[in-house]
Amino acid sequence: MSWFEKPATPSVRTPMEAIWAVCPACKSYVPREEWTAAQRVCSRCNFHDRLTSRERIDLITDAGSFQELNAKVTFADPLKFEDASGPYAAKATATVAKTGLNEAIVTGNAKIEGIGVVLGVMDFRFLGGSLGSGTGDRILLAAEEALAKRRPYIVFSASGGARMHEGIVSLMQMARTCAAIARLQGAGIPYISVLTDPTTGGVSASYAMVGDINLAEPKALIGFAGRRVIEQTIKQKLPDDFQTAEYLQEHGFLDHIVERKEMKAFLAKTLRYAGC
């Protein structure tokens, strides 16, 4: 039997994605095992890939210490918004089903090297980490929890910005979250903001940028206006490192860029300087 007559056998090969991970930044193929062990940090270019909120909480907090707050707070549809691809409520409901998340941030009480904190971790999988009224409620309520318990507040941001489907209500979340954080800061309670890839638009222009300490992960995209909007406005090419964590640090807006593997210890050390 010649080779071309050989009957086709169904492929039982392991899928490619199970063996290799592709770095979203440098496109290198990294063995999946190595990628996972490195907490999704590229060994070739040091890009820190996005984590889910659960993965992040596991990395940052003491085992078993995280107690979620306001888990039932979910999206609202104040405008009854509908665009070309359908109603927002349907899209958000599908996102809830798909991700198992009720909102773009998970908040709760936790311990970091034994220090009691209130922690918020955004999750980009929930509508691009966009800031809706449910997101704002969780951030505000967690700030109030930190104030009531006099515990430091730490927020990890990962967001494209405002949630357009909630229109002006989304914009108001910037004011609400900052108001709650201002009260915390006025009461002398530490607030640490950690900007991860990406932190842009209305989130960068509100709670993410007003930490007592602003930290970021290497190479995270951080900025106010979108790159394309700026290029169209000023009609020039932007530098390659524009709106990276490194660019922001160089321009004076970040205290420190912290590697993922160092983050927990770094936070604990900083909190001790803050008297925790």
Binding site: D137, I168, T233
Partner: protein, 273 residues
Amino acid sequence: MSDIDFTKPLTPWQIVQVARMSGRPLIGDYIKGMCSDFIELHGDRVFGDDRGMIGGFATIGGERVMLIGHQKGKSVEENIKTNFGMANPEGYRKAMRLMRLAEKYHLPVIALVDTPGAYPGLEAEARGQAEAIAKNLTVMAGLRTPYIIVVTGEGGSGGALGIAVGDTVLMLQYAVYSVISPEGCASILWRDGKKAPEAAKAMKITADSLLKLGIIDEILPEPTGAAHSDPRAMVKTVKAAVLKCIKELKVLPADELVVRRYAKLRRMGSATL
């Protein structure tokens, strides 16, 4: 926009056109028309003096206030100078400096909002547009003096909000206030900028919608034919409304003012509270 019939209800997209119309009163007209005195205070003390955002001491109907606001121009030359009312970080930082000065001197702040948005430029990013706006949000929330906002034309997203957190928000009948321009929203969610009229409707950016949503406190009616048809009458309406707010708020002790403001923000635009 001679094709707009003001005797009939306007569509949201028509209202966007009116809000952007040249001839609509700008901050200079309000200063001239409602202030018996104005001393402009320049500069952010760090980088420069943004002409897209101005402010200073003002006297309105005998009340001394701090007046701040976006500045658009009436001509091409003026618009180049004022950057079409799109402030840079130094504009927001100047505004913050004046807010704090107002607090120190116990002057109410009057903020006039009229901007397409904060300027999206390379240097604006380098100098921290996001940080400048964010910082203002925290300062306004806790400012121990009355803070009154009037959205007079375009309330363009974070660029508007950067001076618009306060005790009372007034909005002109044909002003708009939104998280993104209808064109921007259409190009992202409809993948077609020409669907802006649909986006304008879906986003509920007009004064009557915003009042129902609890984002603004009062709509200031415009003269028949809109503000540009009778700027003097418009300025008079704004002056009277602002004076009424000042009188209501200035009797409140600062502690109570700040507690009330937080309570308001806590409920405003909440999903659950």
